[in-house]
Amino acid sequence: MTWVNAMVQGVMLGGLYALFATGLSLIFGVMRVVNLAHGVLTILAAFIAFFIVDHTGLNPLVAMAIVVPVMFTIGYVLQRLLINFTLGSGVLPPLLVTFGLAVVIENILLKVFSADSRGLDAGRIENVSIRLTSRLAVGWLPLTIFLVAVVLLVAMQLFFDRTTFGRALRATSDDAEAAQLMAIDNRHVYAVAMGLALGIAGVAGVFVGVRTTFGPLEGPVLLIFAFEAVIIGGLGSLWGTLVGGVILGVAQTLGAQLAPGWFQLSGHLVFLAVLAVRPTGLFPRVGAV
């Protein structure tokens, strides 16, 4: 693989990372909670897709249409029944509860599915590429993932900026108590936000399953990639998340070109470099916490 090719692959990978990161970033933006279970929930979505494909023979990309609403519901219920009760008592409870949740979900998956890696087969799309130049080709699947990421980001932006509920979400994240005075029930608002975040994680999870193999123990690495993309890109900025994801992806693929074992490590090192030099990220939203 040539260097340019590696870069292009990295950019496409960035789209996938942006998908991971959007959910994490959304929850933090609305409720100031870092959901430590985000990675394992993304894996859960992949397993849900696996279950559906196993029992119905549907193409995983089609199964996404079921996975996303299921994940939304899981997110809504999780927020209403558990995470809402951790809010307002400081930084520790949400972190510790989501951490506990991550442990529980990971081990449930281990128990039910065993530690084996598995994959989702999406058929032809995995093998077809677009030939750009004589030495450069882009796979249809990575390109699709990237485009879906862009579309979802645009949709999220529009949702926040233009819709009534999006406005209510922004108001709640500014001042939840004052939002109550506007007839906004913040328990419901937070739950919808979590539902959206997990819905996006659902999309990401299916793509992970199709693009690579996945297993119950892979939650943490997805969480870390999501987090690195958010920090590199800059807190509070949806588009920064895409840029962050791309930079991370490129760092990883270029690193892997140097030495195969350096895929993850080069991503971490670039992340640490950004943290050292520009801790607020590359495109932080002005005034974002």
Partner: protein, 355 residues
């Protein structure tokens, strides 16, 4: 009637508790003569888990820092031990302390990086750092690489001697971890921490340099975690990056502290005991065991956020490790009128402090 105002720190429970503790420590110190080696090994495990729990509690319960990357220092301690004992030929037991020094040195630049983040992102940042160390260890063949390595320096030492010395070092570590936290909280730094914990925004107005206090605590806790890591692998002897740098160490720390009682000194002791007992009986269940642990931790966090010891404090107000000062008003016994009376202070309502 003339009155004397007395400011004191020790409580009824702490004075009795100290007597019991001294006896307990003596018994434990003599344990090698009293118990089987297998019992000693179990105790060693208990001691190093207790040290880890105390350190995580110091970070989260007192400095408000949720770190899910302390396993980095466990690994650094372990690989430091390997490096000094096996690669450099230094005495095995001395290497344990040298490894702790390495942890201390590495904690400083780490702090410089991770403290650029706050709250939950700080937490994940610490995890990324641990991952970096794990990957570096896995990619370094001279340290055993991905498949791991055994500390061979231990082979040259008589087995019983090694187990006894390991035991005493571990016992010392456990006691030290408790005392470090206890005495730290009684210093100015400790007072600063508690002020930061209660009202971070107001603390700087009292002249408290919040960031510096947190960094100091982070480096201290990480050094002890490094020391503990060296002790762990002094006992286990077999290193493997995925296990040595595993986040499961953090899972334990969080569990023990949350269930035992965060922000108290007795809490982590209780939590480690609970974890230990559960582990003895449930570890065979594999993933189910961890599901139970995680679920219990979640439940405790939501329903009884101050843990088991917090419940005890609320109910009976027993303080073995009193940190706060109390004021008692004593009637002067030399006064001519009236009998001697001392009045116990009314319990201060509101949030209980450490115990």
């Amino acid at each position: 009637m003339p009155r004397r105002v007395v400011v004191e720190r020790s409580t009824f429970a702490s004075r009795w508790g100290m007597a019991v503790a001294i006896i307990g420590v003596l018994v434990l110190a003599l344990a090698p003569a009293l118990f089987l080696n297998s019992v000693l090994r179990t105790l060693v495990q208990f001691f190093y888990l207790l040290a880890l729990a105390q350190m995580w509690n110091l970070l989260a319960g007192y400095a408000g820092l949720v770190s899910i990357g302390q396993q980095a220092y466990i690994g650094i301690g372990a690989y430091g031990l390997l490096f000094f004992a096996d690669r450099l030929g230094v005495n095995l037991f001395v290497s344990v302390f040298l490894a702790a020094l390495v942890a201390a040195v590495l904690a400083i630049p780490t702090a410089a990086l991770v403290f650029r983040l706050r709250g939950g992102y700080f937490a994940i940042g610490t995890w990324v750092v641990a991952e970096v160390y794990r990957l570096l260890a896995a990619n370094t063949q001279s340290l055993g690489g991905g498949s791991g390595v055994t500390i061979t320096a231990a082979i040259g030492i008589d087995r019983t001697v090694r187990e006894y010395v390991t035991y005493w070092i571990a016992l010392g570590l456990a006691i030290a971890s408790v005392l470090i936290v206890y005495y730290l909280l009684r210093t100015r730094l400790g007072l600063a921490l508690r002020a930061v914990r209660d009202r971070e925004m107001a603390a700087p107005t009292l002249g408290i340099h919040v960031l510096r206090a947190k960094v100091q605590v982070y480096v201290l806790a990480s050094t002890i975690c490094g020391l503990t890591g060296a002790v762990i692998y002094l006992s286990l002897l077999r290193l493997q990056p995925d296990a040595t740098f595993s986040v499961n160490w953090t899972v334990f720390m969080i569990f023990a502290v949350v269930i035992g009682g965060i922000g108290t000194i007795s809490g982590p002791i209780v939590g480690t005991i609970v974890y230990f007992l559960l582990q003895q009986y449930l570890a065979d269940l594999g993933p189910i065991y961890l599901i139970i642990l995680g679920a219990v931790a979640i439940l405790v966090m939501v329903q009884a956020p101050r843990g088991l010891w917090g419940l005890v404090l609320d109910r009976w107000n027993i303080r073995f490790f009193p940190v706060q000062l109390r004021v008692r008003v004593k009637e002067d016994p030399s006064a001519a009128s009236g009998p001697n009376e001392t009045t116990e202070p009314e319990r201060v309502r509101g949030r209980s402090v450490d115990g």
